[in-house]
């Protein structure tokens, strides 16, 4: 079981999807409330662009509603399937960007300033996003899935359709690249104020 706070039991998601396919109008609302925040957060961290993240999330959810009648419980987890769809849509968008300079990509809006404990945390989130934007596409996806979305390596391997060893390699290289990207910003991020 994944211990990430935002995750739900996969069986619950499959059950809600089955209820949706059977015509239960409340099931869609419950399922959307459970999975949409995770998919939107992932898309936003990978793409670094609010509007594109919204488009990708809506597109992925439409594909989920579309496949609901044919969904076979037990073959795949709903959230894993959705992460895979979102990841592929994000890759498509990143490849279409091509040579767009990273500095031209809009920074995502700071999520709820009152909830991020002030300016320092907002600064840290901005610095992390800027560093994530500098990573190669697959490394960025792997790092976000592992360290922000909280997925295990086997599930990430399913999402990215690669082996577990390749996931470990991607996340390790991604973390090294993040450290390099954050080099020299240690003072600005105020780590010395932390008690950890």
């Amino acid at each position: 079981m994944n211990m990430h706070a935002g995750n739900t039991e996969p069986d619950t998601e499959a059950e809600l999807l089955a209820r949706y396919a059977a015509g239960d109008p409340a099931a869609a609302r419950l399922l959307a409330a459970q999975v949409t925040p995770r998919m939107f957060a992932h898309a936003l961290r990978v793409l670094g662009d609010q509007a594109e993240a919204e488009d990708v999330t809506q597109d992925a959810m439409m594909r989920l509603w579309s496949i609901a009648p044919e969904w076979r419980t037990g073959e795949a987890k709903v959230s894993t399937w959705l992460y895979r769809v979102v990841a592929n849509l994000c890759i498509d968008r990143l490849r279409k960007r091509g040579g767009v300079p990273l500095e031209d990509i809009a920074e995502p809006a700071d999520p709820a300033p009152s909830a991020v404990q002030g300016m320092q945390q907002a600064t840290r989130l901005d610095a992390l996003q800027a560093a994530l934007n500098s990573l190669p596409d697959r490394q960025r996806q792997a790092v976000v899935l592992r360290h922000i979305d909280g997925l295990g390596n086997p599930q990430i391997a399913e999402v990215l359709e690669i082996g577990v060893e390749a996931v470990e390699s991607l996340t390790a290289r991604g973390k090294r690249a993040l450290k390099t990207a954050l080099e020299g910003r240690k003072d600005a991020l105020g780590f010395e104020d932390d008690t950890i």
């Binding site: 869609a28 949409t36 957060a41 439409m62 609901a68 840290r124 993040l178 080099e183």
Partner: protein
């Protein structure tokens, strides 16, 4: 300050990840509304909206109910004003027609039961 002091450590990187995990971006209301509208539009089976709708559907919908009403009206009219070549069933039910006597004397006559043994 040395170079290593200026570099981000694993612990500090984890602090950044924890900050991102603890403050997930809120889903815009407009996006959630659009997702739910898509779900409603794409839902494969629309549930019945009430008991009457279910009853109507069980009877075959509008055409089925129309046929039933027509057959009921025709039957009632035939019962009230039957055509000339049909027996007056209403009169029979109301005992307005005299009964027909059946001559069964042969069946009850003397000797019939003796012949049968």
């Amino acid at each position: 300050m040395t170079r290593s002091d200026k570099n981000t450590t694993d612990t500090e990187l984890e602090t950044l990840f924890a900050a991102a995990r603890s403050a997930p971006p809120p889903v815009p209301d407009a996006l959630m509304s659009q997702i739910l509208a898509d779900a409603q539009r794409m839902q494969p089976i629309q549930p019945a909206t009430g008991g009457f709708v279910s009853w109507l559907r069980a009877l075959g919908g509008g055409p089925g109910v129309g046929g039933l009403v027509f057959a009921t009206c025709v039957g009632f009219w035939i019962g009230v004003a039957p055509p000339a070549n049909l027996p007056d069933l209403a009169g029979q039910l109301l005992n307005l027609q005299s009964s027909t006597d059946i001559d069964d004397s042969d069946l009850t006559g003397f000797g019939w039961d003796i012949e049968e043994g």
